[in-house]
Every structure is written in C-alpha cells, then in structure tokens.
Symmetry: D2
Subunit: 378 residues, 4 copies
C-alpha cells in the first residue's frame, strides 16, 4: 500500500456525541456492567488519521550508558534466573516499560572476563551488534560464533544460545529483540538450557559461516535451511564495510548503487531467500559521506539506530541531536527523520518493518530531498 | 514452528537478584535517570515460559447485548464524528479498553431504518458477520453489498465503505476488526468519505460476487486482483451452509473431509490466492453434530467465537458456559478450548492467526481427542 | 518479460561464413568425428529473432472428426494396452506426430455404452472438456466424477483414473494433455491400474466438488491440498456459464469485468492457490457477444481452441475459418490470432502458458484493438 | 512428486491392437486425410513407464576439443552474423543437432587476442564457465566482467552481451545455454547490438560484484533486483573453492555439511532469492576427496558435467570413462550416474532441473550408497 499524500490533520470533524441525559447515563452503566465500550467515545484515539505513537523520539549516549553497564558488572551477577546482564532502553513515552519502541527491545549487554551467560531459548528473535571490543563467543545451537567490533550476530527464535567471555577485558554490545511485540501478542515461549555453554571452542569462524557465508553459494545439503530466519549466524564487519565502500566507489564512478547522493546502505539478508534475516526485524548498515544529508523520511513502524563511527546530526520529529560512536536514538512510527554527517559516518539501524510488510500495513514516504557535499577526492 | 511438548511451568529457577546495597540503589537510580531498565528484574514477566495473556476468557450473551444496542439506537445518533453505532466487547483483563483480545476488536453494530453510517476508510481490516436480520447494504468502494443472515461481508483495509438501512426494522450485526493490533503497532491511517453512501442501489448480488463468486473461476481481466485481501466482498450463507453440510455428508458416507468426528469446518479464503481473506485475520465457520465434542486445542494467538445457531457447551481455560444463538466468547492466546454441541450447532470464529503464521510465531497443539455421538440417521 | 516493440524481421545481417577451403573441410570433418556442431552455421534457425514455430495454424471440424470416432467405436476395442480410444489432432507442420502443437496434445475420446477405459496413471497432466453428450463417469483416485455437456474435468499428474459409460449412447469428448512437452523433456512415468474402474458409483457430484466446490470456502482439514494441481475435479457448466453471463451483465451496467468490449472470459483456477489448475496448462472459457471481435494478440506458447457453441470467424497468421460447435483450431507460438462472433459464441481454450510464465519466457502483445457491436438490449 | 519404487519395466501388457481389415485400413486412411493419429498405436513410445531419452550418455575429451577450437580460431572469423566462435557438443542420440541433451546446449567458445564477439541479446539464458586461461572480459548490459580460471559468469536472458580478448593468448571456455529447450518451445527472441562491446574497461571486479557480491548483504537501492535471474554477474573461483574446502573441513571436524561422505557441493544461487541463478538451469560445483565415490543417482532431466581438476571415474547407464581436466560428459534424463575420484577432483555441473521443479515434474532417487576412503589427515 502506498500513498502520495497524507490526510491533513485538521480534517477531523467535531466528534459528535449524544446529548447527556439520565437515560444515557443508564446506558453507559449498562455498557460497563456488561463489559462493553462504545466506539463513538473512543474512535479518535483508536483510529487516528495517521499514526500517533505513544513512543517518543529519544536519544541515549554511549558515554552515559557504558559507566552504568560497568557498574552493573561490578554489582550484578550474571547467571541462571536473571539470565543476562542486559540493560534496556526504556522509551520515555512508554510508561517505564523496558521497551525502546512499542515493538522493539534494545539493550546494552555486559559480560566480564570468564563470565558465562547461561544457555536458553525463546520464541523472541534476537541479534547482537558490536560497537566496540571483542573476546566473547556466542554459542548458537552448539556452534560457537566469535563477536568482534562491527559484527552482527544472529540468534533466531527458539535456538539455544549462551555467551562466554574468554578475554581479559569486559565486553559490551547491543542486543536487539522483538520482546515488546511478542509480549503484546502473547507469543512468548522460553526454555532454560545448560548453565554452561555447550561448546567452549573459540574458532575464528562459526560452522554457519563455513556453510552459508560464501557470496551466492549455498550448500547442496539440506542441513539448516530455515524459512523463518537466516542460517548465517554472523555477518562480519569486513564484508559490511567493503559493501558500503563499494557503493560509494560506484557513486564516484558515476554508477547506480547508493540510496541517494552520498548515502550507501546495505540490508542484512537471509542467503537462502534474500528476505530479512529475522521474521520480525529488518537490519541495515548505512554510511554517509562527510557533508551528506539524507532526505526526510516517514515510515510506518519504528526503528532504533546506533552510530557505529563518525558524527551524525539527527533530527526526529523536530528534535535534533549530535551523536557519535555508540550513541543510540529511536524513531517512532511515522515520525520524520533525517540524518546528516559532519564526517564520514556509519550507522547501524534495526526496525520492525517486516511485520508491516508481511501484514500489508506498510507505508513510507519521502518528504524532502537529500543533499550531498561530495568530498573533493579528485 | 511446532512443538510436541510444552515446557513445564515449574521449571523456572528462582529469579537470582543482586543483593540490596546502597551502591545497587545508586545504580538503579542511574538507570531511571538515563531511561534504562535492567532485564534481570523483568524477565519472568517479559518472557514467560509460555504465553500468559492479560486477556481473560470471557463470554457475552446476545440477550444482554441486544437490548443495549437497541437503547443506543434510541439515544445515540449515527453519523460523522462517532462514525458508527458500534458497541465493543471489552475484555475484563484488558483494563477497560474496548478490545476483545489484545489484537482483535469485536462489536455489535446497530442501524435503524433509513439511517446511514457515513463513508470512511482506514488501514484496519474489517468484516461484518450477520447473526440475524437483513435490510442493510454495505457500500464498498462504490459496490453495494447486501447483508443477510449468515452472510460474511468484507471491507479490507483502505477501502471506502458506509452502510445504510433500507428496511423497516433496525438491524444488528457483528463487526470484527484488527483495531487493537493496528493500535499497538501504530499503523492507523483513517480518512473520512462522503456522509451519504456513494451508491444507493440495492442489488441482491454485489459486483464483486459477479466477478469473483464462481467456484474455481477467475476473470481474465486484471480488475481488482489484490494480493492483500480477498476481492470477494460477500460470502453468502447458502454457500457456507452447503459446504458444511457437504462435509458431514462425506463423513456419513465414510470419506475424509471433516476436521474430526462430527466436526465440519470451512475457512473463508481469497479466491485469487487461497490465503486468508484479510492479512491479519482468519475467518471460519464450524458445525458440530448433536453430541459431538471437539478435541482440546491450544494455539498461539487469540480468537473470538459467535454461536450462529444451536447450543454449545464451551470450556476455555477451565471455565464452562452454555451458549446459544448470538452469544460470543473469547479465547486468549494458548488458552485450552473445547466446544461441545447438545444439538447441531454452527459457530462463526475469527482469529489473529495470520499474524503469527506470517511472522513464524505460530504454534498449536491438540491435548485431548474429539468424540462424536453420531446421529442415528440410517 | 515484456516488450513494446518486436525486432523487425529484416534486421538480420548476412550470415558471415568462413571461406571454403580444404582446411575448413578438414575442420568440419573433425567436428563430425568428435560429435561437434559449430554455432555459426546454425544460429539463424536455432535462435530466430522471434518464434518461428514448425507447427502450422490449422483447424479441424467436428463434423469430420465425429464420424471417424464413431467408426473407431465400431472397429477398435478399448482396454488394456491401447488404454483409450483417443484420436489425436496431428499438426500438419509436425511431421505426422500426434501433437496438436509442440507442447500440447488434443484428442477426441469415444466410449460406447457399457465400455470401460481401464485405470492408469501418468505424470502427464490431463483434462476432459465435454462439447456434447453425457453418461460417462471418470473415476479419479476412487472419486467418481460425472461428465456432462460444458463440464471441465481434471485428472492431474500421477492420479489413477479410468472412465466408464453407463448411458445407452456413446459419448465423445475432448482430451487435453501435455504429452508432447513431457515427451520432449523426457519426464514420462506411466503405471497401469485395474482394468475396471475402482468405483462404479454414479453420483451427481464428486467428493472433490463437495469439499472444494464452494466459492471462496476451503475445508480446514488438510485432506487433498495439493500445490501442483487443483483438487477440484470438476468445473460445472452451470458455474462457467453464469460467470460469463455475469461479466457481460456487468458490462451492460457500465462496470469493469470483461476482457475487452463484448468479450467475457474466465480462467479455471486452483481454489487453494488461485493458480492455473494444472502446472503446465492454462484453461479458459471465452464468450463473445454477437458482433464482437477480439483484438489481435500474439503470445509466446501455443494454444488449442474449441468452439463450444455459436459461430466464430477465426483468423490465425492470416488464414481465416468460420467455425461452429465442436470445431477446433490451433494457434502456434507468436502467431497473431483474432476471433469474431456472428452470433453469441462461447469457446473453450487451453494453452501451455504456465510453462513460459514459470520459466520467465512469457511475452504477449496486442497488435490491434477489439470492436464490439453491442446488442441493442435496452 | 517423489516415488519410492519405480514401475518395473516388464509390467507392460501386450499392446492390444484392432484386427486388420479393409474397414480398419479405411479408418486409418480417414485419420491421415483429416490430420489425425490414434493413441492406441503410439502410446508405448509416447508415454513410457519411465523416461526413455533419445539422448545418449556420452563423453567428450578436452584434448580432442581444444585443437579443433584452435583450428577454428585460425580459419573462422568471429563477428556479426555467426556471432560467436562456439562449437557445440552434439549428442550422438539426437540426430546431429547441436544439442548436448534435449534441453541443454554446451559449447567451447574460443576468442583470439584482440578479437571481439559482437553484442547481442536473446531470451535464451546463458553462462560461461572457465576451465583454463584468462584475459577476456564479458560486457553485460554495459558492465565489464573479467573471466578467469574457475569463474562462473552469467548472461541472463534478454541482456545485451559481448566478449573481447585483451590478452596476448587465445582463450577457450565453456558456454552453457538452454537453446534446445527454448527451440523446442518456440520461445526465441534475438536482437543484434553493437559490433563493438559497449565498454572497453577491464576492471578486476564488475559493478554487479560490487553491488551484489557480499555474503548476505544486499543493497537497499532497488537497482537491478531481478526476479528471473541473479544480478550477480560473476561467481569467482576463490569463493567457490573456499566454500568447497569449508565443507570438507566441516566433515573433518565431524560436522554436517557435505552431501555424502567425501563429497562437497555448492549450488550457485541468486542472492536476492536463494533460487537458481537462471530460471531454466541449475549450476553446481562438486568436489570429491581422493577415494570418494558418489551414490548412484537418477533424476528426471538432463545434465552436463565438466571436470575442472583432478581425475574422475564416471559411470552413466553402465558406460564408464576416466576423465580429467576439461573433459565433459552428459547424463540423460533418468540415467543412473556415479562419480568416483582417484585424487581430489572438482567438477562443474549444470542441469535443467528448475524446469521440472517449477512444473512439478521432478523426481529423483538414490539407488546405491556413497563410499569414501577418507584421507589420513590426522
């Protein structure tokens, strides 16, 4: 479904309501007694002319988050029960719930040397994105997956997974899940696994990468071919970085490829289908040249962004922040967003778009154009 | 995703929490200041071992609803602003919101002779199911669709629609929509149309039925072939009734066809794809022979049932009701449900199953077997 | 793949060939010895600028076919070995092979009273279309399916099927299969079944119709839900006739629906998917008003048409015939075709289009417009 | 469709035929006059109990092919008209036609230094596989694609393409196309382009590789996202080799991944869909350890294999060859095939499987088991 023009906000006629009367009071009391609510008193809030999310546009700074994570590392044990030392972004508009948006969970997870986050599995889909550090292995259904700066790691729904840190330093990373969506739709199943990870091997590449990590090549064997989620457990920074650099090189050479001037972007996809890596979440990496500014976009559904490197000037629904490495911000449904780069800036983004696309509720619109002050490279 | 056994409820280990201390208090204050919430205090509620819906199993009786609808017909005008004289089922577990379940809206709509419910459109998908009466035409994008007892009428997302009553009697029917889901996911667009319906013709069959209502036959022309929703605006009782009767006749003759002994059921589908008629809702009609009893089933996602005719003994999560024509009940996610029939009983059911199937979050299990006391018809 | 303009036929440059020489002769002898053939001597025939089918446009008249079928009924026994008393159209351009086109088989099958065509199954897909008569039941995997004038009956690949005639008159009908395609691609499997049909019941409706023949309604049970072919064994004339009449009624009322002025058409589809009823063949019924004339069309792939009732003036690749009830004609790949009706005329058509669509080799173009002299009905 | 047991060959009953008589002669004369052929005289050949391909199992040796290609390079000009200096394998069972199998074309193409094979496009799908040499660039819709040993290059249907050799040595490679299939189904369109290639740039990587060649990463931009064929123009040997080596390493480590003991294999796929790279052809690379032997397999549809490196003992339908670098062999439909390796051997394979899979005509069976004499690597 796509639309060219959005309904203007002021078209709503006055909400016609019945005249107050004792009979009406009695009717409304009857509704209450019988567990009924009339549409005519609720329609404006229930069915707005365009999305009016309770979630707020908001940003969190890495320099504020990391010390709290470190202090948690000192005070809070990790292990069975609490399961993870994860600290969630709580959107100011969502009443204190640990939800970055109405559908998405975003948290900093923190693991000290020699610690083990025990194995469990759940129907919630999850990924990890590493903004700094290394030394942790995530074990997914027995396959150990190294975590390093810039890497994206997947733990699709209902796969056992645990983490353990073999380094001498603590490690922090971003966890993204669809917890709020699964919670709102009552679809959570959760099962505990072993307290220790099922493999303590620490290979540079996972078995998943050996099987599924070659461009355009799939194994003939039927092993691990899932419809629901990507079997490729890790998307390595070296590949993501090269893909973004290649798009900008194509632009330099006058060829198509970038999203808009000065703006390269890739989507992480399931190599067996070309679809999103997880059924409920879209994951992307964006790179803006110094001086580039994206068009203003609005999209049904919400997103969380994290600056990976560089400095970005971000405006969401009229609020502007200057953000740098590790900083995060959320974009509520249908909120206009622009991102500008003072220097070359790379950003990770995840969104709930597959939910809307698969249910035919997606809409997007571009309301202004991008600009790019191209670097004088020649 | 399918599972054979569900996790036992008592496997949860004690929720390990850090020891209280002034430092921990300071940490928690820091979380609050920075809009953060730790996972370790929340995980049990956020990620239960199996769905624990806030929604309650609940039933509403037609004999209680109809008088309130009639009184609304006397006191509450229908028209622009309130838009519809619709009275929604408000699940007792959902805090007074007009939501039958966390995803589904179910309401009685009531229209007096000569009244017009003005045209509008919205991204929410809608249908009408007629438990009694006739005389109203729903106009969908200019196509007038008669409403009669037993009929199912569709108004897919973003189609203009209004209703008008040409009969001498008021008419009441069931409206089903995905309002709570669209609200939770911030995907509502709404637009007002004309105050009068755009066609006052009252044909026995809609144009949609003329084009799409012939079994297995589709027009060559590309008119109206939608991926998202069925183009067939009306599913007539005569066809539904015949399909259910045919399944029971097959069973009598010793052939496959019924869901389980004594239990016939059809799904309303999009003839251009065989998929559900609406992207977020599954619609079905069930018929039980006298004496038949369904197996006990649990399914991720919620459902609303309405008895169309007969008398059913329904048990949801251990609560049992005896229900008859027009009565409604809701089944929360993963709640066990059985339906038994004292006489031949026909029930309409709608559920949010496509949401879970399309997002790979669906699970279902049958935990006991059906029984059928077959009528001695021979 | 679609194209706006086709390559002009005269663009081909002269076929450059190497100069004759003893060395070239030796080279060509080497090719022959080593089982090699050079492209440069063959390319014009192998890869023409547009399809140049060996098949000819050709028509067969029912009045010529039927007496030969009757005489076969007298002289040729039906039964195991020969399997069927079927007489195939042999396209004059295909060297005497029993192929209507390079991919399609079309035959008149003839069964005398009390005769049985024994059961067998094969990977070839098949259908029967009845231009006149009744009294034969086709038994498909044990389900007896009545054959009556105007009906379309399916026997998808690898289903056991036989025919038996319970009437006092012989019966003739059209058999359509993908025998030439399956032959060219070496995909034939064939297995003999019982010499008698496995059910001698003669119900008015098959079990398949009871389960799958209700518009937009599918059984919940998983019985018989095939991806490859429609589970609906019979498409009855009463439905096809009504669907065509409805399209013309919509046109009379000024609404969309017909293919072009005065030309109604339906496709027989699989109700579980909306796709073609058979994986390799598209089946359609067309109705032209008196005085209507179709646009000239060209399409990749071939088709066989049979006039069901009325009188049509048909032009294929410049040859024109006037055809009436039961007459057949073939349209080779990319041959231009127009059909005009002197009186209201109904035609059955089958084509190999799904092969091209599924393999991304399909193209079609309309090279002139339709005209309709609408009946003065008002 | 899958089968456990195949019909036994001797089940065919005697072909019952009508008794000769003057009347039968007259009937048959009538058939001939009216362009008709009865089924009962043809059924055994038309519809065999299992595929009986006219194509023969056959092998061609690189040492025989290459000198003839070299001699062609001396005697036959390349350019407009003949278009390509390509020498096709002509299956001995197919009457001298330049067809490796009834559906597949396989040819050695040979290009001398500074030569240009002019641009054209056609609906036939094509690929190049390089068994030795380098120095030619294929230009596909303006994108120059380097050809090097072990690389697979695509030219999907209806894309302009030409080749030019910038090296000081001639270059030979394998061309694979679906020419016979497109010919049999009358679907060929062909259009001439410029006589010179549209780009003489010689980059190491094509633009297609820059956009689509990163594992699991797709550009956000909609540029070049084709449903029908892979947008990735080149699959480089370094990736293919690594993917095969990784599977064998997984086997060494005791993990799943290989097809069968000692047998690694990858399929070349469309990164936007995970489907075969071309709509009518499946492309694969296989590697056998020294001493490994595949199971015996039969499959509907035909294949062409080329040994890339090593030495293989191949048996097709009972004929055995020992083949080495560059040697080719064909496997007709349903012919049993086994491959054994004396040393580590890598083989390229292409087949027409997508045709059968998409049309639901595919069957495969494994009739004996693989053996592997694993190398004593530890």
């Amino acid at each position: 479904m796509s639309i060219d023009t959005e309904p203007t906000a002021d078209q709503t006629p006055p909400q016609a309501q019945p005249d107050p009367s004792p009979e009406l009071d009695a009717l409304y009391a009857g509704f209450e007694r019988e567990r009924l609510v009339p549409l005519w008193t609720e329609i404006g809030d229930l069915m707005p002319t365009q999305p009016r999310s309770g979630a707020a546009a908001h940003a969190w700074r890495w320099q504020d988050l990391l010390p709290l994570a470190q202090e948690s590392g000192r005070l809070v044990p990790v292990g069975r029960g609490g399961e993870r030392r994860a600290i969630a972004l709580a959107n100011p508009g969502l009443g204190g719930a640990p939800f970055a948006t109405p559908t998405l969970w975003a948290a900093i997870q923190y693991l000290c040397p020699a610690e083990v986050a025990p194995e469990h599995r759940h129907t919630q889909s999850a990924f990890r994105f590493v903004v700094e550090g290394e030394g942790v292995w995530t074990v997914v259904d027995g396959d150990p997956v190294a975590m390093r700066r810039g890497d994206l790691l997947l733990t699709p729904g209902w796969r056992f997974h645990g983490h353990h840190n073999i380094a001498t330093e603590p490690m922090a990373w971003l966890d993204g899940l669809d917890i709020p969506f699964v919670h709102a739709t009552d679809a959570s199943f959760f099962e505990f696994g072993p307290e220790q990870v099922t493999s303590t091997e620490v290979p540079a590449r996972s078995r998943a990468e050996q099987l599924w990590g070659h461009p355009g090549l799939l194994p003939l064997t039927e092993v691990d071919r899932f419809a629901a989620a990507s079997p490729l457990a890790a998307y390595r920074w070296e590949h993501t970085d090269a893909a973004l650099a290649d798009q900008l090189a194509l632009e330099d050479a006058g060829h198509a490829g970038v999203v808009e001037p000065g703006h390269a972007a890739v989507r992480f996809t399931n190599p067996t289908s070309g679809a999103d890596v997880l059924p409920t979440m879209r994951l992307e990496m964006h790179r803006l040249r110094a001086g580039a500014q994206t068009a203003e976009r609005r999209e049904v559904g919400s997103a969380v962004w994290q600056v990976f490197s560089g400095t970005a000037t971000v405006t969401v629904s009229g609020t502007t922040w200057t953000l740098t490495d590790g900083d995060l911000f959320v974009v509520p449904s249908w909120a206009p967003v622009t991102v500008g780069a003072e220097q070359e800036t790379t950003l990770f983004r995840f969104a709930d778009t597959p939910i809307y696309e698969r249910l035919h509720l997606h809409r997007a619109t571009t309301t202004a154009t991008a600009t790019a002050t191209r670097e004088e490279t020649r």
